[in-house]
């Protein structure tokens, strides 16, 4: 089993390789006249080199007994997962439902699921937050928030 540094470095190495290949397709030009791909190519190369340093460092640490450290250890990992999922749903429903309704539902959902609150706190939090943000953005900063089914 690889340790965290080895794994993350390997990911960076492949990202660096991808950048190098894409940069080549843009054209490197020459030092006299560098093209669009010149800088990204150098960055990709640096990324791969640093990733190799990371893999070596991770391997040396593994020899010292530092193994894979579970990222979910001692934490409630499902909370960030639920939050992120709800945000993707929010993006999906924002325009059809409108800002006020979508935001109130999101806040209510987060208050209910992440660390469950009493219903009156959830209701107050959902209504207060959505109207507070609405007042700041729509009324004060003149941002055009999606009206959706509530028409304002």
């Amino acid at each position: 089993m690889f340790n965290n540094d080895q794994v993350s470095s390997a990911v960076w190495f492949f990202i660096g390789l991808f950048i190098i290949f894409v940069s080549l397709s843009y054209g490197l030009g020459s030092a006299r006249a560098p093209h669009t791909g010149f800088m990204p190519f150098l960055i990709g190369l640096s990324m791969c080199s640093l990733a190799i340093v990371g893999i070596i460092d991770g391997t040396m640490e593994k020899r010292k007994g530092i193994g894979w450290k579970r990222l979910t250890e001692g934490v409630k990992w499902e909370k960030p997962l639920v939050t992120l999922s709800s945000l993707f749903v929010y993006v999906w429903v924002l325009k059809p439902l409108g800002f006020l309704l979508a935001t109130a539902l999101l806040v209510g959902f987060l208050l209910k699921t992440i660390q469950p609150q009493k219903w009156r706190v959830i209701l107050f939090g959902a209504i207060f937050t959505s109207f507070f943000i609405y007042l700041i953005f729509q009324v004060w900063l003149q941002t055009q928030l999606p009206p959706g089914i509530l028409f304002f």
Partner: protein, 502 residues
Amino acid sequence: MDTVYSLFNGFALVFHPSNLFFCFLGTLIGTLVGVLPGLGPAAALSLLLFTTTSIPPVSGIIMLAGIYYGAMYGGSTTSILLNIPGEAASVVTCIDGYQMARKGRAGPALGISAFGSFIAGTGAVVGLMVVAPPLAEMALKFGPPEYFSLIVAGLTLVTFLARGKMWKALLMATFGLILGSIGTDSMMGATRFTLGIPELIDGIGLVPVVMGFFGLSEVLLNIEKPMGRSIFETKIQNLLPTLNDWAHSTYAILRGTLVGFFLGVIPGGSPILASFVSYAAEKKISKNPELFGTGMIAGVAGPESANNSACTGAFIPMLTLGIPSTSTMAILFGALMMNGMQPGPLFIKEHPDMFWGLIASMYLGNMMLLALNLPLIGLWVRILRVPYPILFPLIIVFCLVGSYSLNYSLTEVFIMIMCGWIGYILRKFEYDLAPFVLAMVLGPQLETSMRQALLLRAGDPTIFITQPISAFFLAVALLILVMPFIPKLKKKFQKIPKEEAG
């Protein structure tokens, strides 16, 4: 005489009711951010970055700057009363501040940290006013090779002082550089890494990226941990320090001001580093070093002064050289760019109103902060009781609407969420985000400087080492890169306190 005249103009600008209001709002939000653990100045600035396009630019920048230095004031409150730093630069204040609270001296601890912050903040503004204009004049002599090397040295210094392993910090810098290169190549007109998304043709927006990396990822990290906190129950009285307290604190405040200012000017020399250096210095100078950690007032006065002074000092490289020295400064740099102002040697000449207005607002802001932090301390303590589980949905909605409001684009909201997720994963793998944001902001300038320098000498790369100033900056960068490998310096390097991303 010019300076006095310009400063008066700055004050005239700040006393405009709208600027006065935004200065007050900034210091108020800053104190709130400092008081509330789990929300740092970088995250707060990223949440409010978009507002600078909706309100007059001068007001917007005055407000963002107020949040930054205001957070330094507020950070001490939680350190003293909760033993939890409100923001990273107040970590060291916990040591003696909390002990003072336990001994029933929370009042003088809060009082001296507010007074120390005020003295240091005002002193550093004087320093900024005196040092920035001549430094900008000097930097006018810089050409593309000097700029390229200066950015390389600045980025290297920031990665050197970043949290965790140096190769990780350098990887984050390359990641920032590649994100900064997305969009249209300014010299050739071709597009790069846009993945066919029209919103990316002008580059990836700074607002959704920093909101995701600093705002959302911080929330995700906070909610996965237990969210309870308990306030040390003590009666806060005698906020005005006694003569004896002043006798023990005056020199600590003055030393903290100087140390903080000089460390703030150095790229990577964050307020947190300044506060640790100040604490170490006070302990070393003290006749009773063994009493540090038991509630010594100098252990509160010195670091609190240093972090305020450093945060003002950090404006110097950003405004005069165009090199932000911390992640928070990089966001302020982005705010100026978004409003069509390029920080750098010409900034003071091209935007004197902005520069002198900002300076004047800092004088005024420091006075406002003193008024906010001393008589209203009871209010901040009450705010501390607002539980994080109720607060975090508000932060999330700010991130969502803030990233949407710039271009009314759901793609940018999606980018913000993705950045929040990536930032969360990166933090779990112990990658520091500060070098990332600095590199992303400076990347386009780094590339332009490099290509212009190469064009100047028909592709001869020796231009970077034959120009003396450029060679000096590159030598500094090389020295920094080599330092961790020298065994004697390696141990010292590991002891340096690092800046937290948020």
